[in-house]
């Protein structure tokens, strides 16, 4: 009996692995500057106002 691969599922999993690798390898220092900027801005807003009650 031949093993039949579901190519769309293989591609889907491959895409998922690639994304996971990207995520795993990303540290704050390596994030794009605009994400760092937003994170810093968000931190500032939380520091000023805290979280809403």
């Amino acid at each position: 009996m031949k093993l039949r691969l579901n190519m769309s599922e293989v591609k889907r999993q491959a895409g998922r692995i690639k994304i996971n690798k990207d995520l795993k390898d990303t540290k704050y220092e390596d994030l794009p500057q605009f994400i760092k900027d937003k994170i810093d801005k968000g931190r500032k807003m939380i520091a000023i106002a805290g979280l809403p009650k």
Binding site: R12, G15, R16, I19, N20, D22, L23, Y28, L31, P32, F34, I35, K38, I39, K41, G42, R43, M45, I46, I48, A49, G50, L51, P52
Partner: protein, 150 residues
């Protein structure tokens, strides 16, 4: 949600999503990335934009692919998925330009009843977070899953 959405590819932790915008200008890969504001923080920044040729998100690109509502609904669906799995977390979002902040505010306003049925929505205004109100200008938004009894 009642709006059309694109199919998304997601990571197991639901902290990164990708999809393709399809329209008259072609096919564009989009990415949503959710990054905690600090180690152990319950607040996650929602970053979104086109995936550029170097593989990074470009949040200033303008696609003009006549599908902004579908793209916005897709991004909102990723936020839903994330908050469903992380009910204690807040999502922090702001636009890269004033126009985009306004676009997000309109997106929330136009779907406020539907969103607030499941989520608490706040806007940052005058150095404090307040419950989101129609017609007010906010610098940023916070969204949290509504927990039973609140």
């Amino acid at each position: 949600m009642r709006h059309d959405q694109y199919a998304v590819e997601e990571t197991a932790s639901l902290s990164e999503f990708e999809f393709y915008s399809e329209g008259p200008k072609g096919k564009f890969k989009k990415r949503v990335k959710l990054v905690p504001l600090g180690e152990g923080s319950l607040v996650y920044n929602l970053a979104f934009g086109d995936v550029s040729s170097n593989g990074e998100i470009d949040d200033l690109s303008v696609t003009n692919n006549n599908d902004s509502q579908k793209v916005l609904a897709t991004v909102a669906s990723t936020a839903y998925k994330f908050l469903e799995q992380h009910p204690d977390c807040y999502l922090y979002a702001t636009g890269s330009t004033r126009a985009r902040i306004r676009l997000y505010r309109m997106g929330i306003t136009n779907n406020l009843a539907e969103i607030t049925a499941d989520f608490l929505v706040y806007g940052f205004c005058g150095n404090e977070w307040e419950a989101f109100e129609r017609g007010k200008e906010y610098e940023a938004f916070l969204v949290k899953k509504r927990t039973f009894g609140i």
